[in-house]
Symmetry: C2
Subunit: 445 residues, 2 copies
């Protein structure tokens, strides 16, 4: 075996270090599996003197990415610096130079995926992006290849480990949101600025990538109705449990006759559903295909070695193609074409509301009246103990209602003088709706 | 797009019909994704007149498999008749004729995989076998490609939907084994002869295939210590629940310094573990890689359309390679080489025993004495109510013990005159042991 596939690595941070470690430590195993030796030819990082304890030849480490782009021997360019610029320009330059690209950059692909995939298709190079969603879980490969025989009907899941860690601690140990988040930060589970994670933005980036792939349509974060978890309280979690639910930050892309439904928000799911059982920093992806039915993938959604595992899997796929004499093609296997999106206002589901109201007679009647005016019918109400003059929580579960009506009703309710804070809204997901598939079946043999 | 990939389908039963339906119904979608039109050129079945409601040209359906083997235009030969012969000979003939092969035949691959993969490697053709394990769940692709950067440390799971259905009904509804099995048969979940399913043989076939792939070693069913579920009673399930466990028919292949551990048997797992939550006819695969850590895949392990989904995914992979001008290679990506196996007698775990003993004074002391003589220490004992002169169940949980000692002790105990029936043994799986990995980590970001 004398074939060599030369790799240029841009960004030696968390994921870059994990990727380099696997390439160096498992060189022999990977050469056998890839059909060629995967050589870490050059590494570029802002801090070329810090080798992160890796057995790298310092002569191969540079601060100038041109050293990678201009080296014609480098066939695979691995972008792991993160962020939009200069990542976008550099990736486009690598593609223009005829290099295959592997990236873990979900923000870049969510915002500029169409541009990058189009450039790659034109240049006849591959863009591997397994690591951009779900860390070490091969969800991209499953959608692109494993379920290739299916029309995908639903892609849903828990796609951000930080948010899920925070919710798990709130659920299992009754921590407040701020406490749980501070702990996640202490443990290195959350960035100093956790906004992307807890506000659902990172989740929306990942959903944008998966939805583009599953439904062959260009989807950007702006197309996704996105709400975070920062307004949830232990009270919501306790009430959810009383009704038999757990709260998760769910991403949902669902193909509907009226258009594609795209949303990220805290969601109540029945406590015995597999998605409700995803604990701590794990991720899970729930896919429904018309032939296969429901498939769930569960695992580490981030971390140095798991994400490195996904980056190296993409490198091996590309190297195998090169070794066979033919570059594997694409990004997504289909040209992206716009499909109609279903507006969030058209969503129909059951809702949980927690109203913060002054403890005065008639409050419940006024709230219920406004809901009734908007055609929203109440399935259950809980109003626990009176607490002197402070605001009290009133919790309600509705029957199925339309999001547009809910928004209109809540706008009026939140203006009432007796209502002290904006109402907390959690949508309730019905597993049967999530699983609905034209001709899926589950029978064993 | 004018490229065509001609397919020959051998066996138009459950899976064959699902495969044909997808190829015919989704022709356009598949052509886009595969880069060539997938043409169902010929179909062979013992009953060529029964078209199973498919829009097949009767002129393309034959009872003679030679019509497929001798047609040089057929590039992909899909074997879906099941069983060892004539499947084995026909597959070898197809390979010798330079055709790529796709098969769902776990029995064939478990028994003769090495022979078939070697022949394919020599002929330079691919053998796709995704459908042989886990129905529609892409577990083969995940092992071969998604986790290619990993040394696999553990492959475990629930690999037979029938057995899991029976156990689920026994657990959730207190049914006896026979009742649950009869129901599974009524519902079409179990064959008329369910031996393969409930005795763990089908599970062992699947484990053999996965272990060969994950550990690049030839493994046959005879290498796997296999026990079925037919001796379990609702009592065992109730006791397990009291101790916080659920009973599943688990397949486990674990890489250990002393050798490869291979076993299929009823297993107690903590009730909150994801594997304990796999319900009904579903399958689940639990994979541990040194870089990625723990990944779980869950979904339909069988059924016409899910299994057809996996068959077609293999066909598309092969067609893509052909369309690109290069046939994809292999079966497993590495040549199989023997590795030492760890004998079942060397297993160390905790055990559940249910003794059937006459209700006489001193029985417990005699049993405990024999266990003590063999160095097996007891963690808990339950002996419920005395029931006149009938045999009573005595249930015990042990601390960690070695299988060899357990077998010695039970052989003596089962010979006691006061013991009326062979002792029921259930091994208790510690999730930490199952998850143990050299450098796995799970951190989010
Ligand atoms: N961490 C995870 O678990 C994870 C999981 C999935 C996906 N991802 C994605 O993977 C990518 C990398 O994440 P990460 O966690 O590895 O980030 P990181 O630890 O911050 O690593 C980025 C590295 O690139 C360097 N860098 C940044 N801009 C550069 C430039 N213009 N020129 C040269 N070097 C530059 C950084 O140097 P400085 O430190 O000096 O800026 C740092 O060493 C991101 O797109 C992220 O979203 C990460
Ligand atoms: N069913 C599942 O859900 C499932 C899931 C995973 C894997 N598999 C595997 O897939 C394979 C097929 O299973 P299946 O359930 O589809 O079996 P099946 O329903 O019995 O189908 C087999 C078909 O092949 C025909 N056949 C058998 N021997 C033949 C011969 N020598 N020449 C021509 N036709 C012949 C049979 O005809 P007759 O009926 O006249 O014999 C029948 O139509 C097996 O290896 C099985 O283990 C099945």
């Amino acid at each position: 075996m004398t074939k060599v596939c030369q790799i240029g690595l841009f960004g030696l941070g968390t994921v870059g270090t994990g990727t380099a470690r696997i390439l160096l430590d498992q060189a022999e195993l990977l050469a056998r599996r890839a059909g060629s030796r995967l050589e870490l030819a050059r590494v570029c990082d802002r801090h070329p003197d810090d080798l992160r304890g890796l057995p790298l030849d310092p002569g191969r480490v540079t601060a100038d990415v041109r050293d990678l782009l201009d080296d014609p021997a480098i066939r695979v360019f691995v972008e792991l610096i993160g962020g939009i610029e200069p990542a976008r320009s550099v990736v486009l330059q690598a593609i223009a130079a005829g290099k295959h690209v592997v990236t873990a950059n979900k923000a870049l692909l969510a915002e500029h995926g169409s541009e990058i995939f189009a450039a790659a298709a034109e240049a006849g190079v591959a863009v591997g992006f397994e690591a951009s969603v779900g860390g070490g879980i091969p969800v991209i490969k499953t959608l692109k290849e494993g379920l290739v025989a299916n029309r995908i009907e639903t892609v849903a899941g828990i796609m951000n480990g930080t948010a899920n860690y925070v919710l798990t601690r709130m659920t299992d140990d009754g921590l407040a949101f701020d406490e749980a988040l501070a702990e996640a930060q202490r443990l290195g589970y959350a960035e100093a600025d956790p906004t992307f994670d807890v506000d659902g933005i990172d989740t929306a980036h990942k959903l944008a990538i998966l939805a583009a792939l599953a439904f062959a349509t260009p989807v950007g974060p702006a197309d996704i109705a996105t709400e975070g978890i920062s307004r949830l309280t232990p009270l919501d979690i306790t009430f959810a449990a009383e009704f038999g639910y757990r709260i998760k930050l769910l991403a949902i892309a669902r193909h509907r006759p009226e258009g594609l439904e795209l949303r990220v928000h805290p969601t109540m799911i029945p406590a015995d559903h597999l998605l409700a059982r995803v604990e701590g920093a794990a991720n899970a992806f729930y896919l429904v295909g018309d032939a296969v039915g429901q498939v769930l993938l569960h695992g580490p959604g981030a971390g140095q070695m798991p994400t490195g595992s996904a980056v190296v899997a993409d490198i091996v796929d590309i190297a195998r193609g090169i070794a066979a004499g033919v570059p594997p093609c694409g990004g997504p296997f289909e040209a992206l074409a716009p499909v109609p999106l279903r507006p969030m206002e058209a969503l129909v589901c059951r809702y949980y509301f927690r109203f913060s109201a002054k403890d005065r007679p008639g409050v419940l009647a006024r709230i219920a009246g406004i809901l009734g005016d908007n055609g929203i019918s109440i399935a259950a109400v809980i109003q626990k103990g009176r607490r002197s003059r402070a605001a009290v929580p009133i919790v309600m579960l509705t029957h199925e209602a339309e999001e547009a009506r809910v928004r209109r009703a809540l706008a009026r309710i939140d203006e009432l003088d007796v209502v002290t804070d904006p109402t907390t809204v959690i949508r309730i997901e019905d597993p049967a709706t999530l699983a609905a598939s034209a001709n899926a079946e589950v029978t064993p043999a």
